[in-house]
Amino acid sequence: MKTTDLFLSTLNRRRLLKAGVAAAGVAAFPAPFIRPSWAAEGPIKIGMVIPFTGSTGAYGPEMEKAAKLAVDTINKSGGLLGGRMIELYIEDSESNPTAGAAATKKLLEVNDVNCIIGYWGSPIAMASKQLLIDAKKVMMISCAANAVTEQDHGGLIWRFQAKSTQWGPVGGKISLQRGHKKISVLAQQNPFIGSMIDPFVAEVEKGGGVIVDNLSYLPEQPSYRAEVEKIFGAEPDAVFIPALLTDFVSIMKEVYRGGFTSKVCSLSIAADANGRFLESVGPEVAEGIDHYQPAPPLKSPVYKKFVKDMGEPEDTVFLFAGNAFDQVWTAALAIEKAGTDESAVWTKSVPEIANPPGALVSDGVEALKMLRAGEKIAYVGAGADCDFDSQGDQLNRHFLHRVIKDGKNEFVQTLS
């Protein structure tokens, strides 16, 4: 880079900052005006780190598909910042923090992305977050462990997922509503699930329930017979099993074959997983299992359109695909709003385009148009309302509670 260029770019950055502040303050300011005509040319690069191999490899592909869907839509509608296209770079985290961090570094340094989305799996996010903070790039995560956003991160991390501590009480409420008193916990040992157990227990005890047994199990073992025997053998009214798909399939097969009758409440990641659980174990085993997940806005047209575009049946309830979709859109809207793809700048615009006040819009293309017209918007995504608190965590996460009846998922209620 020549010295003059260097000078220009620092200058630009300063002007850009001003422009961003101005945009934030004066919403009525016509958008085309603040779009800097001198904006850097070339595509806007977004990175994505998700698992395709290793123990959580099953969750990567649908997120990839959703993110690509969002990117295609944006690019077809004319791109951002006056015609710049988005380029998406995806890396495999291998479900391993070291590999995830290496992938992050590659995206930052080699592909020169200006933010990285995805991050399914808290240890991977934990190992990578310092890299992003040091590089002053935005990180959008899909994992739940509280710790990721707890320390100061300079407003760079946005969580598109309910926190673990928000998940726990919901399970407790469901069990109590079902009239269960003696409740046991059989939880997979991972950071996401680990921190939802205490809130679950607290909720149950607050509601007059009794925790009979509380057991964590390690995933990736030949059989779960001992765990199932220990928990179900005591014949509690219900067992709360926060798990992931593969081990939940094995556990429920064991429960059924063991002839146990306690009711089961689980997470939709395990007990639905876009229908793969039912497909795996069949309707008899699955009968009567309660499960829940953070609710996507099922009724909203954008969600319906999203499901259709993803090529899935109408009543599909996505788990992580919606989050990935929202991450791309949120980044796009914030970039457009800030008028720059400079991470440290546009990250400040995220609440401006996501949180109220502002017109609720769920169609991204529409939202872009409104932004350009200088209107205030509050984007509603396909995964959630997309409102954030000052720590970067999503607000107002509702949970969708469903039960499996006759081989089908039946809606029970929305909880919060």
Partner: protein, 309 residues
């Protein structure tokens, strides 16, 4: 790009250290260690826990080295009576036990969530901007120091004795070397090196969790030692580098190939790594660099075809 290379080089340095530890234990002395990842985890957690409780860097690292050495010595002591196959299972078991402890003892290790916020040494003086480069320099320096130390030891009587033990225990014993003591020493030295590697790993992301120390770490170390030529320290640096380069270079595969989806490319990537290793074994049997030998090769007492009979 430079920042990426810095990170990769740092990871390579840590991988080299682990491979060196294996090389001392197995490459030079002939004792298999399948619990490497457990040793590294032990070192990393020791350092991390001490640092988080306010201990100084040098104390924390020294403690990791000491604990890992002692553990190595103890394991080899337990296994002295047993043949090599059984040392394998004892070390495998050790690795598993460490993994279970890191996962289950939340009060100490933070359980599955791990330990975040490990203070990075000297970060206040260096500043975050250049910290990565500084850290890489530290890692490379450590690798160099250990490399020089091991090279000297290899050429010294100690190294010759170790190889003699590896090549033929009976002959070595008859030469009057105290075989048992030598083996324990070698295992302890290897353990100490894994302790350093663990410490470096703990500072690298200033966060550790059990999944960073999966069995795959041990697999890579074996790959590096085999690829580099068993017993050769310079070879294994090359070996570890080639493995890591292969691992990382295949990341760029999908920037070129566009037909397959990402999970398929991820699968192909690992197929290439496995296949590459096999081809290396078949076509570069001596490794990339041949082992240093001060004397003519001993008569092949231990040819695999001819088991000790």
């Amino acid at each position: 790009m430079i920042g990426y290379l810095t990170t990769i080089m740092t990871l390579v340095s840590i991988a080299v250290l682990i491979a060196m530890a294996l090389n001392v234990q197995w490459g030079m002395c002939g004792m298999v260690n399948f619990g490497l990842s457990g040793f590294v985890a032990l070192g990393a957690y020791t350092t991390a826990i001490l640092m988080l409780n306010g201990t100084g860097v040098f104390m924390a690292v020294a403690a990791a080295i000491v604990i890992c050495s002692v553990m190595g010595a103890l394991l080899s002591l337990i296994s002295l009576r047993l043949s090599d196959d059984y040392l394998a299972i004892v070390t495998l078991g050790f690795g598993e036990v460490i993994r279970l402890i890191t996962l289950n003892e939340d009060w100490l290790t933070g359980g599955a969530l791990g330990l975040p916020g490990i203070p990075r040494p000297l970060v206040d003086y260096i500043g975050t901007d250049h910290y990565e480069k500084f850290y890489l320099a530290v890692c490379v320096l450590v690798v160099l120091l250990i490399f020089i130390g091991l090279e000297l030891a290899t050429r010294a009587p100690f190294g010759r004795a170790l190889r003699a033990i590896r090549d033929d225990e009976v002959v070595a014993a008859s030469l009057g070397k105290n075989v048992l003591l030598m083996r324990v020493k070698a295992f302890a030295i290897g353990g100490g090196i894994t302790g350093i590697a663990g410490s470096l790993q703990a500072f690298q992301f200033s966060y550790i969790d059990p999944s960073q120390f999966s069995a795959i770490m041990t697999v890579y170390a074996f790959m590096a030692v085999i690829a580099g030529g068993r017993g050769s320290h310079s070879g294994l640096i090359l070996g570890a580098c080639s493995i890591m380069v292969l691992l990382e270079a295949t990341r760029f595969l999908k920037d070129v190939v566009n037909i397959l989806d990402n999970s398929q490319i991820a699968a192909i990537r690992l197929i290439l790594i496995g296949g590459g290793l096999i081809l290396l074994l078949i076509y570069r049997p001596q490794g990339l660099i041949r082992e240093y030998r001060a004397t003519a090769p001993a008569a092949p007492k231990n040819v695999p075809h001819d088991r000790k009979e």
